[in-house]
């Protein structure tokens, strides 16, 4: 490995990298060694045009751009010399010559690299007296992205993203020189499945998402690390929260999962958290068809009573359990123990399939379908056949994925049963006909781990609190077990001890521990190992 010196500090860097790549991979870039940059991005091709990352390399007469200069053993780099600082100041001044400086009404303010670097590396005052470029504002490039051409600094990250990642190439630089603008072609809107990433890539306020703009000032947002629950890929996200409300998902870099990207569908799936169709109230079906609102405790007690009645009358074999592929590993492990204790063998998990692609989108539309499989909740076909042919008397159903046409196609078969207990995030047709309906928490409202399609366990933690009484799937199961007097469900539910027990009890999950999973996940051993 080549050893280079940066401002006198000797570091070992990977071979065949440029200076910026090497600093990025050693984790030092903008975290110990500051080389400001606009056009360079770790996941895009090198452009070399913004010229902000110029550094002094010993033995080279001109300043070199760190993004495109290969490292070599013994190379000595200076990132803070007077020449470097003066060049940076020059770039900053020139970038601001045509910028509208409308930070007061710009959504990017507070997370704007132009603001940050102007403050850090720019001059104190402007010397330009010339009129600034008057260009198009509020241009709808596609369904999700709005462009302000005046704010653009032409780093062309967005153009390269569209060319290289979804490879749809909708964005172009039209014109030359200081008439250059980002545009789409007529009838070719920016409408690819990943279009909103350009707003993250844009270092300034030129590209914003229609969903987020003008909703909240970013400095009011807390950033909570989380995982997108849109599909089985488990893309890492940063959840932007203010006053107990989620305003956005942004991709959080995880090179093993989603690089720095997020699909638009997943990004907008944060809306499920605060959505109006959440199941926000436990209920019992009264004698009439009306639902009687009750506390979660009452609902759990009622559910336990019904399940007791059913198993007493027809035995555990008459009960089917459908786990939720959205629940956490800890939830599912708790449910597995519940089934074992009760003697229920008819277990499975219904998963809805959707569109997939070669990038991030996976067919399984649930964040923990793989975890469910690994914990013994496999395809529900045999179990659903029993429901259809009347071999089952009752069902304990988590989630409503089973309503998908690929499974039952509707609630009828389940509502025909003697007993139907539904535990769900959303108020679906199933919850509406259940004997007992119990609300649960979203992944962004709880502690736990999710296993993505590749067997990577990733941690979620509470970003917001639901505005109503709700437990996690695991806690509901725990309380059900306790109410039924099952062994192993004594005391209060504690997700940490469940997590430790999971690690001990299930070989594939050995080593898993909430606090050991880390911000980039922990790979589980293969199934059966």
């Amino acid at each position: 490995m080549p050893r280079i010196s940066v401002d006198g500090r000797i570091i070992e860097v990977p071979e065949s990298r440029t200076i910026l790549q090497a600093l990025d991979e050693t984790g030092l870039l903008m975290a110990g060694i500051d080389v400001p940059h606009y056009c360079w991005h770790p996941k895009l091709s090198i452009d070399g045009s913004c010229r902000l990352c110029q550094v002094e390399v010993e033995g080279m007469p001109k300043l070199q751009i760190a993004c495109n200069t290969p490292v070599a053993d013994g190379m000595a780099i200076r990132t803070r010399s007077e020449r470097v600082c003066s060049a940076r100041q020059g770039v900053m001044e020139l970038l601001l010559v045509n910028h509208p400086l409308d930070c007061a009404i710009c959504d990017q303010a507070g997370e704007c690299k132009l603001q940050d670097y102007a403050f850090e590396y720019g001059a104190d005052a402007s010397r330009t007296r010339e009129p600034r470029r008057a260009l198009k504002k509020n241009v709808e490039l596609g369904p999700n992205i709005v462009l302000d051409q005046e704010r653009c600094i032409l780093c062309r990250r967005c153009v390269r993203f569209c060319d290289e990642v979804p490879a749809t190439g909708e964005l172009h630089v039209m014109g030359r020189g200081d008439r250059s603008v980002i545009e789409t072609l007529p009838d070719e809107p920016l409408a690819n499945d990943y279009s909103m990433n350009v707003a993250d890539l844009c270092p300034v306020g030129a590209l914003t998402t229609r969903d987020f703009r003008f909703k909240v000032r970013v400095w009011f947002l807390d950033d909570v690390p989380g995982v997108c629950t849109g599909c089985a890929n488990g893309c890492n996200v940063t959840i932007g929260v203010s006053k107990n409300r989620v305003y956005r998902y942004q991709p959080r870099r995880n090179d093993a999962v989603n690089d720095t990207w997020l699909c638009d569908r997943g990004r907008l799936s944060y809306k499920r958290i605060g959505s109006g169709d959440r199941l926000a109230q436990a209920s019992l079906r009264g004698t009439a068809s009306a639902r009687e609102p009750v506390s979660c405790g009452t609902a759990v007690a009622a559910a336990a009573a019904r399940l007791q009645q059913l198993t007493d009358a027809a035995g555990a074999a008459a009960l089917v359990v459908l786990a939720s592929p959205h629940a956490s590993n800890e939830d599912l492990f708790t449910l597995r123990r519940f089934c074992d204790a009760l003697g229920v063998t008819a277990r499975g998990a219904a998963v809805v399939l959707g569109p997939q692609d070669r990038l991030l989108m996976k067919a399984e539309q649930a964040a923990n379908a793989e975890g469910a499989r690994r914990l013994g909740f496999g395809p529900p076909d045999a179990l659903l056949a029993r429901v259809r042919c009347g071999e089952a008397a009752g069902a304990l159903v988590f989630g409503h994925d089973v309503l998908d046409p690929a499974h039952l196609g509707g609630p009828e078969a389940l509502t025909a049963l003697e007993t139907l207990v539904v535990v769900d995030l959303q108020d679906s047709a199933l919850a509406r006909c259940a004997d007992v309906a119990i609300p649960v928490r979203h992944a962004a409202e709880r502690e736990g781990t999710l296993t993505n399609f590749a067997g990577l366990a990733q941690r979620v933690q509470p970003a917001v609190e639901p505005g109503w009484e709700a437990w996690t799937d695991g806690e509901v199961v725990w309380r059900l077990g306790a109410a039924l007097g099952l062994a192993g469900f004594e005391g209060a539910y504690d997700v940490r001890s469940v997590s430790r027990e999971l690690a001990q009890a299930v070989p594939g999950f050995s080593g898993i521990d909430l606090d050991r999973v880390g911000e980039h996940g922990l790979s589980l051993a293969g199934v059966g190992s």
């Binding site: 045009s49 902000l52 495109n68 020139l94 010559v97 010339e130 020189g177 200081d178």
Partner: protein
Amino acid sequence: MGPQVPLITNYLTQHFLDDAAVGLEGYERLGGYAALRRALENSPADLIELITSAGLQGRGGAGFSTGLKWSFMPADGELPKYLVCNGDESEPGSFKDRILMERGPHQLLEGILIAAWATGAEKTFLYVRGEYERPAEALERAIAEARARGIVGTNVCGSDFAHDIVVIRGAGAYICGEETGLLESLEGKKGQPRKKPPFPAQYGAFGRPTTVNNVETLCHVPHIVNNGADWFRGFGTEKSPGTTLFGVSGQIARPGLFELPLGTPLDELVFEHAGGPAADQRVKGVIPGGLSMPVLPADQLDVPMANEFLRERRTMLGTGGVMVMDERTCMVRASVVIAHFFRDESCGQCTQCREGTGWIHKLVERIERGAGVMEDITVLEDICAKMEGQTICAFADAAAWPIQGMLRHFRGEFEAHVVQRRCGFAESFEL
């Protein structure tokens, strides 16, 4: 006989007055393609050695050693490798390549084929400036003739060497004369210079090893092969051998093309060969090498036209396009024209160039209008300094240098505009 012929000729242009020498028959009658046949008997390495020892410098503006450039090409390795002949000639004030292509197409083809043999290229893209319709036609005609005679094709002059030449027409952008901007344009993309590394010899046209040579550069090659390095070194200066084609234009009695040895003094060129300014005028400044080179004031014209001397006066030979301005010319107004050109032609990739060219133009335009302040002049100098040497290609330098030259030698005129709040000159040309 076309009207555009050199006023002074030497080995490159000696037959350009003769219409009969333009076609293949006439060219061969005068000994054409003998150099190619001789070259094919020599190894590529020997040819590169010959051109290197002749000291041929690229005539496209940068003056880089042609032999050295050829030696950068990987000697073996996978085909295809390419040669690109740069006939974009977009530098304002330069019109030599046009005449070389129109009047001596076979001389250029012979140079191309020798260079192709030396660099192992299997195909040449001859990139001709979009506006150059006649040169492109002349070349197409010449290529057809050469192909019919077996000079271009699968067995060049009966040898095992196969080479094809294709004419590609540009669309009129200055930046497509920059070698990697040209390569992008050649590939059908927007003309924007590429970052280096990689260099064209590693990753050139369509990602293959490529040598890019200027038209005039290649035209010298057959003569060196025919007559030897020592003969070539008999022209010009020790460091800058050979002749070159000076294109003289502007406020001058006899504008035109002059093939003279490098090192010919600028004042001799302007006053003797080109006849000096109009009878009642005096020369005020001369741009020695195309619009991108810094101007020289009247008292600094006693300089040999070769880079080693011009550099001492903080300018360069460039493409040899000499532009003469007499005392009627407002240098601020001339600066506006220069700044406008570079603002218009900047490709817009690099921050300094995109924003700097626009700012410079707005500033000098405001000073010319009489609306400038003294600080503007300082700012102008500072922007130029910050553009220089910091971008992907040399365009930003090309935009900054002429303005720096104007400020260096004619700062008083800028200050006068500010103080008098107007331009003191009669409008010699429209903006």
